[in-house]
């Protein structure tokens, strides 16, 4: 496969101003990923700071209740800052520091990636600016304050639809304006090469751990690995290690919002088509003139009109399957796992739980499913209450 490509997907469709920086980033990354000292430092940060390895938990009550496959949960929600985002952020921030950068910038939707970036910046003593759609700053006011507590500046983005994609646009603009001392900590397996590769590699710790853990507990591989997909970083993180194991089904759950047949969804594989945007060739939700479509999901973290290029490739080659999950189904799964297992997971992760609830009963008790709980759900409690007609504000 051509460098920076996954089949026809990926590439570097980006302004000339940023090209030398991307070339340098790739070179530095190729050096540091094999550097013993770098890996030692990163592992220490993962284990001593972020709380890795994360648990692989056997959800016994859920398994019995569903009456089929054994369900295991990969508990990324137990990481410091409450989601898988910290894995990528610690990796990139450490890399940026080695590259001599003194400032990091990031986009954020719900605020998980922004909080993680602000955290790493505080820890590593770097300046931090976070770009967040104005609408999201209002929906997630608590996370805005959290980032500010951590010493970051939060910039509400007022262009376009004022959500995640516009935050990415604005962070790219800022990076092109001030690149010499600044690294863009991209939050998902998207954007121009080498980002999809770098983010995947830093997130692949999830799948590596999960594989070792399931082999230790069960002595065999799972039948299916399920994760939610917006840009796709937690999914890529848990899928990657299992790609060569062809008997393991890889299933990504997209946000179908109010339904794939309504205009209000963010199901890129179900509804999107091939295109070029945000530096990459992939699938995007777009209209019949190639304008990027406004998308919707109850989950701000899945509210993105594209999907990472490696996912596009896994979809086209049939190695992974992508299924749509609606708001209703996700909210039901959110409540189900809270009641059944005592775990309040992120509404994003509830999309994956929902699919597990669907397929576990159709499988044999000999089979194993691993679901990635990408984050914890504290941030979503008020929104779920409102969804159920209870007026709670943070």
């Amino acid at each position: 496969m051509e460098t920076g490509r996954f089949g026809e997907f990926g590439g570097q469709y980006i302004t000339e101003t940023l090209m030398n920086e991307l070339i340098r980033l790739e070179k530095e990354y190729e050096f540091y990923k094999n550097d013993e000292e770098f890996n030692k430092e990163l592992t220490t940060l993962f284990n001593e700071y972020a709380g890795r390895p994360s648990l692989l938990y056997y959800a016994e009550k859920m398994t019995k209740d569903l009456g089929g496959a054994k369900v295991y949960l990969k508990r990324e929600d137990l990481n410091h800052t409450g989601s898988h985002k910290i894995n990528n952020v610690l990796g990139q921030a450490l890399l940026a520091k080695k590259m001599g950068k003194t400032r990091v910038i990031a986009e954020t939707g719900a605020g998980q990636h922004g909080v993680a970036t602000a955290t790493a910046a505080a820890l590593l003593g770097m300046e931090c600016d976070v770009y967040m759609g104005k609408e999201d700053t209002e929906r997630q006011a608590l996370n805005v304050y959290r980032m500010e507590l951590l010493g970051a500046r939060v910039h509400p983005v007022t262009s376009g639809t004022m959500t995640l994609k516009d935050a990415v646009n604005e962070t790219m603009r800022e990076w092109a304006t001030r690149v010499s001392d600044t690294h863009y900590v991209l939050g998902s397996v998207m954007g121009p090469h080498p980002f999809p590769m770098i983010v995947r590699d830093f997130q692949s710790v999830i799948g590596k751990e999960a594989k070792a853990q399931i082999l230790e507990k069960e002595g065999k591989l799972p039948k299916a690995v399920i994760a939610c997909v917006g840009g796709g970083s937690n999914a890529m993180g848990i899928f990657h290690e299992f790609i060569p194991d062809e008997d393991v089904a890889l299933i990504g759950c997209e946000a179908a919002g109010r339904g794939v047949d309504t205009p209000q969804n963010a199901a890129t594989i179900a509804n999107g088509s091939k295109g070029i945007f945000h530096g990459m060739k992939s699938y995007f939700c777009q209209d019949d003139m190639g304008q990027i479509a406004p998308v919707y999901s109850i989950s701000a973290g899945l509210d993105y009109p594209g999907i990472g290029p490696e996912h596009a490739y896994l979809h086209d080659t049939g190695r992974a399957t992508y299924v749509p999950v609606t708001d209703d189904e996700a909210v039901e799964a959110f409540e189900y796992i809270a009641r059944t297992e005592g775990i309040i997971c992120a509404i994003e992760s509830a999309h994956a739980i929902s699919h597990a609830i669907k397929i576990a009963p159709t499988m044999s008790p000999e089979d194993i499913i691993i679901v990635n709980i990408s984050g914890r759900g504290d941030k979503d409690v008020a929104a779920i209450a409102r969804y159920r007609g209870i007026d709670i504000h943070e």
């Binding site: 469709y13 000339e16 940023l18 090209m19 092109a176 088509s273 295109g275 019949d288 190639g290």
Partner: protein, 257 residues
Amino acid sequence: MSRINKAFENGKAFIAFLTAGDPSLEKTEEYILEMVRAGADLVEIGIPFSDPTAEGPVIQEANLRALKNPVTMDAIFEVVENVRKKTEVPLVFLTYMNPVYHYGYGEFFRKCNETGIDGIITPELPFEEKGEWKEYSDYYGVDLISMIAPTSDERIKSIASEATGFIYVVSSMGVTGVRSNITTDVKGIVEKIREVTAVPCAVGFGISTPEQAQAMAGISDGAIVGSAIVKIIAEHGENAAPHIYDYVKKMKEAVSE
């Protein structure tokens, strides 16, 4: 000799930009002709896009205004066809990748050739990715305009050596938009380009005053102005023609001095 080459034949060139469909396609046609009448040597037509990541606020807003009405690629080609009946001024498109990808590369470049588009500029196709369009642009004889940025350094030689039409020298870091001063060593960049090619260089990003245009044209082959013109259109809407004329005339005079 191509129309683009001719634009740089008689002294320094003034290149004017507007966004197609802002405020309407009828007005786009009228404003292009007005720019030409006022002395513009080349006109750059922006194909509106929902997420113009290389633009500052002024051109971002123009894109959004244009997209309030459905602006199809075919309708934009019609504007080009109409303009081409009345003038031989070189016309280039400024576009993002996705609308062209969606329309189909083959069909897009065929229509460019048929309607009289001379070149294409996109901020999303660096040197390494040129292969995406090259077979189409070569086949249909449409120049892929290369961009060179303040950060290009050692890339300048490879980019310039394969450049056709003209070279778009990006004067500043960041996005398009009016700037009070330009601090990049544009002269140094142009000198490096000159070592490998005679393809003309025009400077854009941040130019709005006659003084800036004159200074930039003085160290290159021309000046490109976008945001300042788009601002006039934003302010005067349907009645911008005389204001565009006055502005372009003043800028053309400045670069010619």
